[in-house]
Amino acid sequence: MDWRQLWDIVSTPDNVPIVALIPLLIFYCYLAWKQAKANDELVSELEADPVLAKTHHRKTWPFRPGWQKEVHVWPFLLRVEFLAAIIVTIILMVWSLTLNAPMEEPANPNLTMNPAKAPWYFLGLQEMLVYFDPWIAGVVMPTLIIIGLMVIPYIDTNPMGSGYYTWKQRKFAIGTFLFGFIVLWVSMIIIGTFIRGPGWQWFWPGQTWDHNRLIYEVNRDLPDLFGITSNWAKGIFGAVVVGGYFAVGGFLLHALFRRFNPKDYRRMSLLQYSVMQVFMLTMIGLPIKMLLRLALNIKYVWITPWFNV
C-alpha cells in the first residue's frame, strides 16, 4: 500500500473539492433519507387518520398539535439561511487563506503533462472519453445531459412530494436522480481523480503511479469478435445490436415501469412516456458500455464512418 501516493492525490489543492465531496455527499444523503423517512411515516399516519389529516400543521415531521400551521419566511427561514451563508463564507475564507490557487508551470507545447486531467467538475466527461469516441462523449452526451435535465419538468407528472423530503411518493424520480448523479457523475469524477494515473491507466488507490508502468490490454470492437470484416456489415451489425438494446431494454423498462409505477404510467402521455424511455435507456446504456469495456475489453459496439458507439 503506497500511502504516500494516496496522500499526494488527496492533498493536491486541485482535488480538495473532490475529497470534500465524498463525506458531504454521504452526509446529505443521510440527512435527506432521515427526513424522508420521517415524512413517509407521517404520510402513512395521516392516511390512516383522516381527522388528523385535516388538522395537521405541517407537511413535515415532527410536529405537535397547537403549533402554527404556517410560519413566515422572514425571519424564520431567512435567519437560518443567513447563518448558513456566514458559515459558508467562513469556510471559503479559510480555504482561500490556506490553499493558494494551484497554478502550474508555463505551458510547454512540446511537453504535455501526464496524466493531463480536466478540472474536477469535467472529470466525468473526460472519463467518458475512455468508453466512447470524442464525438459521442464530448458532444452528443453532454448535449443529451442538458436536454434531459431540461425535459424533466415536462415529463414529471407526479404531483406529490413538492416542498418536503419523501421517498415513498417519488421513488422513480429520486431513484433516477441518484443513479444519474451518484453512479454516472460522482463516481466517474472519483474514478478520474483517484484511479486514473499516468497514461490514463487504471491504478487502484494505494498503487504507485509509475510512469514507466506497462500493461497488456487489447480492446476489440464487438463486430470483430463475431468475425465481421466488411465496413458495411459492421455498421449494420452495430445498428442491429444497439437497436436491439433499445428494443429489448425498452420492453423491459416498460414492464418494470408499469409494474412498479402504475400511477405515473397512467398520468403520462405517449410523448412524455417515450421521451422518458429514450433518455432512461441512454442513461442505462452508459454503465453497460463501461462494463463491456472494463470487464470484456470491448472497444466499440457500433462502428460507422461518422461515429462509434
Binding site: V80, I87, M93, L111, N212
Partner: protein, 1085 residues
C-alpha cells in the same frame, strides 16, 4: 439513534439562534483579521526580513562607525591633516568678513524682491488672463474693447510697501522692470558670494578627500548616512526591473545587504549571544564577489539571469528561490553556482578575466578533455568535422556542376556546328563560352574550399589515438585486455570503461586489427635509455604526460600516463611517434573516403610524398588529411634523441609484453562484421580514427541546452519514484558512490543536478533493474571521474540552457574581446597552460614539479604580457617555427639555454592568426601593430650606451645569450640580436625599469635605473660623458639594443671576455649592490 422527545414549543418559531450567530460572527471576524494579517505579513514574509535587517544592520553600523571613527581619528592626527586643516581655517577666516557683508545684502534684497513679487505676480496673472480673452475673442470689436481694458489695467498704479515701510507706486511696466532688476542684483550677489567662499570650499574638499583617501573603509560620515537611511526605513518591495530583458527581480527585498557599500559577513549579522549565523544572518551578507557585480551591473542584469530562481515571487522562500515543482528554473545550488556563467558565456572556453580555479571553466575543459564531445554535440566545441564535411559536400556539388557544364558546353558547340544560320551558331558559341567561364569561376571556388579544408584538417583533432595504426603500434595480445577494462591497466586513462562483454571485446578488437594498416615501419636502432630518461624529464614531456602510479605519479594529466607503455607499444612506432607524432602512415582523402597509398601516387607517376606542403590527393587534387589528428606536437628532437626516449619508455612496464594471453581470435574474419556493428554502436569513432568510420556521426544527445530540458525528458527509469521521494541511493558500487559530489543522496534528487551527478558517477545506473538486450543498454561509458570533476561537469551542464534573455545578453563580443575568446579555445586545446602562465596566479604543471623548485629560471617563460612584449608578425613566425631556423631545428629559437623545449605544433594559418590576435588582445595591444621608429644613435650616444650595456654594475651579456656556444652554456636569458624583430621598444623600456612588475620572480635584476628629476638615470656608475645628458638613460639603452649588430655584440662580449656568464646563484651575490635583492625565477625577455 434514540428518538428525541418532541418539545412543547415549536422550535421553528421559538428557538433562539443568538448563540449561533455570536459564535459564527466571532469566527467570521477572526477570519477577517486573519485575512488582514495574511495580506500584510503572511503573504509578505520579506517584511520580517526587512525589519530584522534594519535592527541588525543598525547595530552593525554602530560598531562599524566607532571603528571608522577610530581610524579617522588616527588619520586626523597626522601632520598632513593638520596642515590641511590649518589651510581650511585660514581660508575661512580670510573670507569671513566679505561673506558676512554679502549675506547681509542678500537678505535685504530678498525681502525687497518678496515685496515686489507679491504685487507683481498678482497683476501679471490678471493681465495674462485678459490677454487670453483678447486672443480668443471671435469679434474684432470685442478684441478692441478688451484691449482697451487691458491697457487701462496696465496703466493703473499699484502700491508696493517695502520692508523699510516706504511705499512706492508703480504702473505695470515699471513694476515688471523693477522686479527683473532686483532679481538680476540677487544673481550677481550670489555669484559674488560663491567667489568669496571658493577658497574655503576648496580647502574643505581637500580635507575630506584626504580622509577618504586614507580610510580603508567608509568614513564615519558615510556610515552615518547609511545609518540614517536605515533608521527611517519602512518596509517596501525592492526590485530591479529591466524592461527590455523582461527581468523583474525582487531578491533584494530580503537580501538587503547584497549591494551595501560595506562588506557584510554572516558573522557580523548574527544576533548577540548566538554562535552560529541563523537564516537571517546568512541572507543579509553582501555579494561575495563585488568585482563580478561591477562587470555585471545588477541594475542591468538583475539577479535571476545568473542565479535563476523566480525573481518575481515574494510569498515564500521556496517560491522566490524557485524550488518548487512548477518553476522550471530553480536557483542554482551553491556548489554549482557558476552554472549561471554558462548561460551567457557559452562561447567562452575560459571565462573572461582572472580565470583561476573556476569550476565552470574546469567543466568546460573537462568536456573536451574527456572526449565528451566525441559522442555529444555541443555548440562551440569541435566545429571542424562538421565544417569539413560541408566543405567536402560543396566541393562535390561544384565538381558535378562543372562536369555538367562542360558536357553542355560540348553539346552547344556541336549544335553551333550544325546550326542553320550564322546568328544561331554565334549564339550557341557564346553560350558555350559563358559556360566555360563559369567553370573557371567554379575552379576558383573549389580552390578556396580546398584552402579552407587544408586549415580545417590541420585543426581537426581527435582526443584518442588513430586506430588505423593499430597493427604497427600495439602489442596484439594486449588489445583485448585493455578493451575489457582500461582502468585496470591505467587508472588515470581518459579511455572510459564501456562495460563490454567478452564477445564484444573479441569482435571489436578483431575488426580493429583486421582493418589496421599493414605498411612497414622503418627499423630503428636501440637507443640509450638513461639518456632517454633524462630527456624525457627535461624536454617538457611531463607538462602533458605523467609517469608513475598512485602517489608516485608525476606530471600532467592532459595526456596519457606512460608507466606501462612498454607492455603495449611497438618500439619502432614509438620512435616515429616521439620524433613527430603527426607523421601519418597513409594520408586520408575525405573526398574519396579512403586511405591513399603509394600505388595511388604511382598511378599518376608522382613520388609518394605527403606532408603539409604536399597535401593534394593524387587522384582528384583535393586536400588530404596528411597528419595524425593528435595534439601531440613535434619536439624537434634528433632521431637519436627520439630513439633514446623510446628506449627509456619501452622499459616502462610491470609485466613482459609476451606474458599477455594469446589473442589469435583477432584474425578471425567472421568476427569482423560483428565488430563493426559494436564499434558503430558504442561510437568509438567519436574519439578514435577508425578505418571505415571516418565520416561517422555522433551517437549521443546534443547537450547544448541539456540544462533546460524538461525534467520529464530525463529518464530516471525505475528510480523515478526513488528520486522524487529520496531514500537510499540506488548506486551501490562503492567506487561509483564515492564519485557523487555530495555523497549518497540524502533527500529527493529528482532534478537536473541529481540526474547529471548520478549519470556521471555511474552511467549505467538507470539500466539497473531493467531487462534489456545488449543493443538497448545505455551506452554511456564510465569515465571514472572524481567528485570535483563531476561537480564541474554538472555545473557546466546545468548552465547549458536555452535562455529567455535577449541575444544581447549573450557574451558574443565583436571587438578584440572576441580574439581573446577564440584564443582560449586554442590555448586549452594544446595545453599551453601546462608550461606557460597566462593569468597571474595560474599554476602550470611544470611549476609544480620538484625538479624546478631550485632552478626556476629553467621554467618556460611566463606569458602574462606577451602581446605587449613581442611584435605580432614575429610571434606568428615563432609559433609556426619555434626554432626560428629551417636548418638548425633541434633547439629553442629564443631561449637556447632552456632544457625544456617549445614544441612545433604545426598550427594552421587559421590558428596562428587567432593565437597572435589573442596575445595582442590579451595585452590590449592595437591591431595592426605599427612598429615604433627607434631613433638612430649618434656615435657619442652609441659610446655612452655601450658603456651602460657593458657596465660592470650590470653586465647584460653575463646572462643573455650571444649565439656563441661556449658563452651560451651558462646563459639564462635570450639573445639581444633577436630584440629588433621580436620586441616592442616601449615594452623593453618598461621591462628594464621594473621587470618584477611584469614577470614576478624573474631573474632579471630590478632597480637598474632610478628616477632623478623626471629623468631615468642609470643606478650604477656612469662615465663623464653622461654629464648634461637629459634623455632617459633607459631609453638610450633600449635604442642601443635595438640597433645592436652581431659584430657589435661580439666586440662587447669580447671586451668583457673573461667574465663568463655565471650561474644565477653567483649572480645574486653580485647584484646585491643595488640593495634590491631580486629573487631568481622565471625567464627574462
Amino acid at each position: 439513534m434514540p428518538e428525541q422527545p418532541i418539545p412543547e414549543q415549536d422550535p421553528v418559531v421559538t428557538k433562539s439562534y443568538a448563540v449561533h450567530y455570536v459564535v459564527a460572527m466571532a469566527i467570521l471576524l477572526a477570519t477577517l483579521f486573519w485575512a488582514l494579517w495574511d495580506e500584510s505579513f503572511g503573504q509578505r514574509p520579506w517584511k520580517a526580513f526587512q525589519h530584522e535587517f534594519k535592527d541588525r544592520y543598525l547595530a552593525f553600523l554602530t560598531t562599524a562607525k566607532s571603528k571608522s571613527q577610530q581610524s579617522q581619528k588616527e588619520i586626523t592626527q597626522s601632520s598632513d591633516y593638520a596642515r590641511l586643516e590649518d589651510n581650511y581655517k585660514q581660508a575661512r577666516q580670510g573670507a569671513q568678513p566679505r561673506v558676512d557683508a554679502i549675506q547681509k545684502q542678500l537678505s535685504d534684497l530678498n525681502a525687497r524682491i518678496l515685496a515686489v513679487q507679491n504685487v507683481f505676480t498678482d497683476r501679471r496673472a490678471y493681465a495674462n488672463a485678459l490677454t487670453y480673452q483678447i486672443e480668443t475673442d471671435p469679434s474684432p470689436s470685442g478684441k478692441k474693447n478688451k484691449q482697451k481694458d487691458l491697457d487701462a489695467y496696465k496703466a493703473k498704479l499699484a502700491t508696493v510697501e517695502f520692508p523699510d515701510h516706504s511705499k512706492k507706486q508703480f504702473n505695470y511696466g515699471q513694476l515688471e522692470e523693477t522686479y527683473n532688476q532686483l532679481r538680476d542684483q540677487r544673481t550677481a550677489l550670489s555669484a559674488e558670494l560663491g567667489e568669496a567662499l571658493k577658497p574655503v570650499t576648496e580647502a574643505n574638499a581637500k580635507l575630506a578627500e584626504y580622509v577618504s583617501d586614507h580610510m580603508v573603509d567608509l568614513t564615519p560620515a558615510q556610515i552615518e548616512g547609511l545609518h540614517k537611511k536605515y533608521a527611517d526605513w519602512d518596509p517596501k518591495i525592492l526590485q530591479i526591473n529591466v524592461a527590455d530583458a523582461n527581468i523583474v527581480d525582487r531578491c533584494e527585498s530580503c537580501h538587503m545587504g547584497i549591494r551595501e557599500p560595506l562588506k557584510i559577513t554572516a558573522a557580523a549579522m548574527t544576533l548577540k549571544g548566538h554562535k552560529k549565523p541563523d537564516e537571517y544572518a546568512q541572507a543579509f551578507v553582501s555579494h561575495p564577489d563585488t568585482d563580478l557585480l561591477k562587470v555585471h551591473d545588477p541594475d542591468k542584469f538583475g539577479c535571476s539571469p545568473c542565479h535563476q530562481g523566480n525573481g518575481r515571487a515574494t510569498t515564500s522562500l521556496e517560491k522566490a528561490h524557485g524550488n518548487y515543482e512548477h518553476w522550471l528554473w530553480p536557483l542554482f545550488p551553491k556548489a554549482n553556482v557558476e552554472a549561471g556563467c554558462q548561460t551567457c558565456h557559452a562561447a567562452d572556453m575560459v571565462l573572461v578575466s582572472g580565470d583561476v580555479g573556476w569550476t565552470i571553466s574546469e567543466g568546460k575543459d573537462l568536456f573536451r578533455q574527456k572526449g565528451c564531445n566525441g559522442c555529444h554535440r555541443y555548440e562551440g566545441y569541435d566545429k571542424e568535422p562538421e565544417e569539413l564535411q560541408s566543405m567536402t559536400q560543396q566541393i562535390k556539388l561544384l565538381e558535378q556542376q562543372k562536369k555538367d557544364n562542360s558536357k553542355q558546353s560540348a553539346s552547344l558547340m556541336k549544335q553551333a556546328d550544325t546550326a542553320e544560320t550564322n546568328a544561331e551558331a554565334t549564339r550557341f558559341n557564346e553560350q558555350a563560352i559563358a559556360l566555360r567561364v563559369t567553370n573557371s569561376k567554379i575552379d576558383g571556388q573549389v580552390q578556396q574550399f580546398d584552402f579552407r579544408s587544408h586549415s580545417l584538417m590541420q585543426d581537426m583533432k581527435k582526443i584518442a589515438p588513430n586506430l588505423k595504426d593499430i597493427r604497427l603500434k600495439l602489442n596484439k595480445n594486449w588489445i583485448p585486455v585493455w578493451l575489457k577494462k582500461p582502468t585496470d591497466f591505467r587508472p588515470t586513462t581518459k579511455m572510459p570503461n564501456f562495460r563490454l562483454n567478452d564477445e564484444q571485446v573479441h569482435s571489436i578488437s578483431a575488426y580493429l586489427w583486421q582493418t589496421g594498416l599493414t605498411d612497414s615501419l622503418p627499423k630503428q636502432k636501440a637507443g640509450n635509455a638513461a639518456h632517454g630518461k633524462e630527456l624525457f624529464e627535461t624536454r617538457g614531456c611531463l607538462a602533458c604526460h605523467s609517469i608513475g602510479e598512485g602517489s608516485q605519479l608525476e606530471g600532467g594529466t592532459f595526456a596519457a600516463n606512460l608507466t606501462r607503455v612498454g607492455e603495449k607499444a611497438n618500439y619502432d612506432y614509438l620512435v616515429r611517434w616521439i620524433h613527430n607524432a603527426r607523421e601519418r602512415t597513409r594520408p586520408y582523402c575525405p573526398y574519396e573516403k579512403k586511405d591513399i597509398g603509394p600505388e595511388d601516387y604511382a598511378k599518376h607517376g608522382l613520388p609518394y610524398q605527403f606532408d603539409l606542403q604536399h597535401s593534394q590527393c593524387p587522384n582528384d587534387g583535393h586536400e588530404l588529411q596528411v597528419q595524425n589528428m593528435t595534439v601531440m606536437p613535434s619536439l624537434r628532437l634528433s632521431p637519436e634523441d627520439a630513439q633514446d626516449i623510446a628506449s627509456y619508455l619501452i622499459t616502462q612496464k610491470k609485466q613482459e609484453p609476451s606474458s599477455y594471453a594469446d589473442a589469435s581470435f583477432m584474425d578471425d574474419a567472421k568476427l569482423r562484421d560483428e565488430g563493426k556493428k559494436w564499434i558503430r554502436h558504442f561510437g568509438c569513432a567519436g574519439c578514435h580514427e577508425i578505418s571505415g568510420f571516418e565520416e561517422e556521426g555522433r551517437i549521443g544527445t546534443d547537450l547544448t541546452v541539456e540544462g533546460s530540458k524538461p525534467i520529464e525528458r530525463l529518464d530516471f527509469a525505475l528510480y523515478t519514484e526513488a528520486a522524487q521521494r529520496g531514500g537510499k541511493d540506488p548506486i551501490t558500487n562503492p567506487d561509483d558512490l564515492a564519485r557523487l559530489p555530495g555523497g549518497p543522496a540524502k533527500g529527493p534528487w529528482y532534478d537536473h543536478k541529481g540526474f547529471f551527478e548520478h549519470k556521471l558517477a555511474e552511467p549505467e545506473i538507470f539500466d539497473k533493474g531493467k531487462i534489456k538486450s545488449e543493443e538497448e543498454k545505455l551506452r554511456m561509458p564510465n569515465l571514472h571521474l572524481d567528485q570535483e570533476q563531476i561537480r564541474a561537469l554538472t555545473t557546466f551542464l546545468l548552465g547549458s540552457q536555452e535562455t529567455s534573455l535577449p541575444a544581447s545578453y549573450q557574451y558574443n563580443p565583436s571587438d578584440t574581446r572576441k580574439d581573446i575568446q577564440e584564443g582560449w579555445w586554442i590555448v586549452r586545446k594544446y595545453n599551453c597552460m601546462g608550461c606557460h602562465q597566462f593569468i597571474p596566479g595560474q599554476g602550470t604543471i611544470l611549476m609544480g614539479m620538484a625538479q624546478y623548485k631550485d632552478v626556476q629560471e629553467q621554467l618556460p617563460p611566463k606569458l602574462l604580457t606577451e602581446g605587449a612584449r613581442v611584435d605580432p608578425e614575429w610571434l606568428r613566425r615563432f609559433l609556426s617555427n619555434p626554432a626560428l631556423s629551417t636548418t638548425d631545428t633541434n633547439r629553442n629559437g629564443v631561449r637556447p639555454y632552456l632544457k625544456v623545449r617549445m614544441p612545433t605544433f604545426s598550427f594552421s594559418d587559421n590558428e596562428l592568426r587567432k593565437l597572435v590576435r589573442f596575445f595582442q588582445a590579451l595585452s590590449q595591444q592595437p591591431i595592426p601593430y605599427v612598429p615604433e621608429q627607434v631613433p638612430t644613435l649618434t656615435a657619442k650616444e652609441t659610446d655612452m650606451a655601450r658603456s651602460l650595456f657593458s657596465s660592470t654594475a650590470a653586465p647584460c651579456l653575463k646572462c643573455h645569450a650571444t649565439g656563441d656556444d661556449a658563452h651560451d652554456l651558462h646563459a639564462t636569458a635570450p639573445n639581444f640580436l633577436l630584440a629588433r624583430e621580436r620586441l616592442k621598444p616601449d615594452w623593453v623600456e618598461r621591462w628594464i625599469l621594473d621587470p618584477q612588475a611584469i614577470s614576478p620572480g624573474t631573474a632579471m635584476p630590478s632597480g637598474l635605473f632610478r628616477r632623478e628629476n623626471s629623468q631615468w638615470v642609470f643606478a650604477g656608475p656612469t662615465p663623464s660623458s653622461f654629464q648634461g645628458y637629459t634623455r632617459d638613460h633607459s631609453k638610450l639603452l633600449v635604442d642601443y639594443i635595438f640597433q645592436l649588430t652581431p659584430e657589435e655584440q661580439h666586440r662587447v662580449a669580447g671586451a668583457m671576455g673573461r667574465t663568463r656568464a655565471a650561474g644565477p646563484a653567483r649572480n645574486r651575490d653580485q647584484q646585491a649592490w643595488h640593495g634590491n635583492a631580486s629573487a631568481t625565477g622565471g625567464g627574462s625577455p
